[in-house]
Amino acid sequence: MSEEIKKVIIIGSGPAGLTAAIYAARADLKPVVIAGLTFGGQLMLTTEVENFPGFREGIMGPDLMNNMVAQAERFGAEIIYEDATAVDFSKKPFKVQVGEKQYLSESIIIATGASSLWLGLPSEEKFRGKGVSSCATCDGFFFRDKEIIVVGGGDAAMEEALYLTKFVKKVTLLNRSEKLRASKIMADRALANPKITILYNTEVDEFLGTDHLTGAKLKNNVTGEISELAVEGAFIAIGHKPNTEIFHGKIDLDAKGYIVPTDGTKTNVNGVFVAGDVRDFRYRQAVTAAGMGCMASLDAEKYLHMDQG
């Protein structure tokens, strides 16, 4: 096996990873991006992105990510469309295992992002980006004056439901148990909002429609009763999880598994940097991730200069 030591390996290929790649490549660091079998991150699951600055007409999420890949490659980034399966940060050079192959690098940028938790219904997958969404901030605007459902009973679900009331005609919030798990203050606000109706002990059995979502089949999990509700949008707000399975025990994570930045994009391992949703559970925007990716690359560049004197 060739044991060439790379200057920087970027794990992940959403806006954070690819912006880091664009910058690292322009700085002649010849970055290797472990993009994953499904590259591009969460934006690949969206349709039109209206809030990425610079695209006044909006851009389709997958198009935006393809643009970034082309841009990174143009400056000399190497993109590997496989998953990183293990890492070793215990000594330098750092090791990244990609299936059978092992890569060595002087520095690492972790940008593996986060995944929305989904219900896991086949019909949910069918209507993703066609009425079913996991991001009210991204997609709320499309549902002006429409009727929608929000699935979830935590603070995030309340926030999404309340936020969406600015646009939509009616929100039906589906809570799986008989009590909301959200904090009292959040629950009270949702309960007080005239646009929000809460159905307890209720789950989605199936999403309905042909090309686009037109309704949902609901199931009361106490009585077993099935009913249908006509809606054009469904927001799944049952939480996110950071994609940090391979980093457990290798780097500081918080209780939910997000990577803990120390200063800027630095982590507790000198030479390992972090950007994007894998560390940001608050803003979670494509452009904030991109900005952090840029910073991580500049931080890595500085680290490499210092490390080499």
């Binding site: 322009r26 700085a27 002649d28 695209f55 935590g154 606000r189 500081d252």
Partner: protein
């Protein structure tokens, strides 16, 4: 009364406006000149998602995007910011504007070289904006003062027009990033003049040359040029808020991780902050974060719901 007024009309300011207006905030952007520092870059190749775009064009696009969601823009220079009890009051060209919160995004202004002749010949051959002025030097000779990325960008652009481009450095080093460095010195009409100090910019009604001193030999010489591009980076002009928010020794606005400043209700983003790196992508990211932090602050202040995440307590574990 606006929910938020954003001071500065560059990438950071209009991105903040985009996110604030999308959150339903009544948003006003006040800026002296549209585009700010991005104006000084002819083509940006490292803004994610756009293979190549002019700095001005990028900002114009973000501005239109923000306006499409209801943000307003006024071209004016803010001369005063007052922290009233329940709001911030801004003065710009004798008008007053009130807002519940502010986002500072006024960026930087070019640094002067500080030699004789510079002031007198500004706009008469002495320029701080290669994007704006390089095309004026078709077939002529220009000098670039500066050794960083902005100088390299300016130099590269000048090579497209000028017959000859001198790069002046006090040492023999050129500190732009590797990619730019390579691209610049590949050009046949570029020449690095090492170990020189500029003593004076010469000319009556128009730049005719420069008086130089060689730092190794001490010898003085004259270099005939038609234009001088001063590309020494930028300084922050924070006078309007110097008594309201905490600044660092370079007058940059000191920010916390969430873009808040020392003054509740004032947020900052982009090149005016004390973050070390100055890039359009970072400005955009910070603009979005500042707007969301501002939204959170405004909501919580009035007992409404701000941003929430899936949980509130974060414990660090190994």
């Amino acid at each position: 009364m606006y929910d938020v007024i954003i001071i500065g009309a560059g990438v950071a300011g209009f991105t903040a406006a985009l996110f604030a207006s999308r959150r339903g905030l009544k948003t006003l952007v006040i800026g002296k000149d549209v585009a700010g520092q991005a104006n000084s870059t002819d083509t940006i190749q490292n803004y994610p998602g756009l293979a190549e775009i002019g700095g001005f064009e990028l900002v114009k696009s973000i501005r239109e995007q923000a306006e499409s969601f209801g943000a307003e823009f006024i071209q004016a220079e803010v001369s005063k910011v007052r922290n009233a009890a329940d709001s911030f009051v801004l003065t710009a060209y004798n008008h007053q504007y009130k807002a519940q919160s502010l986002i500072l995004a006024y960026g930087k202004t070019p640094r002067d070289l500080g030699v004789a002749g510079e002031d007198e010949l500004k706009g008469k051959g002495v320029s701080y904006c290669a994007t704006c002025d390089a095309p004026l030097y078709k077939g002529k000779t220009v000098a670039i003062v500066g050794i960083g990325d902005v100088a390299a960008d300016a130099g590269l652009l000048c090579t497209k027009y000028a017959h000859k481009v001198y790069i002046l450095s006090k040492t023999d080093k050129f500190l732009a990033n590797a990619w730019l460095n390579k691209a610049l010195f590949k050009k046949k009409n570029v020449e690095l003049m090492p170990f020189v100090e500029i003593q004076q910019i010469l000319g009556e009604s128009q730049v005719t040359g420069m008086q130089l001193r060689n730092l190794k030999t001490g010898q003085s010489s004259k270099l005939l040029v038609d234009g001088v591009f001063v590309e020494l980076g930028y300084v922050v002009n924070s006078q309007i808020v110097e008594n309201i928010v905490k600044l660092d020794e370079q007058a940059q606005v000191m920010i916390n991780a969430d873009q808040s400043t020392s003054q509740p209700g004032i947020f900052a983003c982009g090149d005016a902050t004390n973050r070390p790196y100055k890039q359009a992508a970072i400005s955009a990211g910070e603009g979005a974060a500042a707007a969301l932090a501002c939204y959170d602050w405004l909501m919580r202040k009035t007992g409404q719901i701000g941003l929430t995440s899936d949980w509130t307590e974060i414990k660090k574990v190994k």
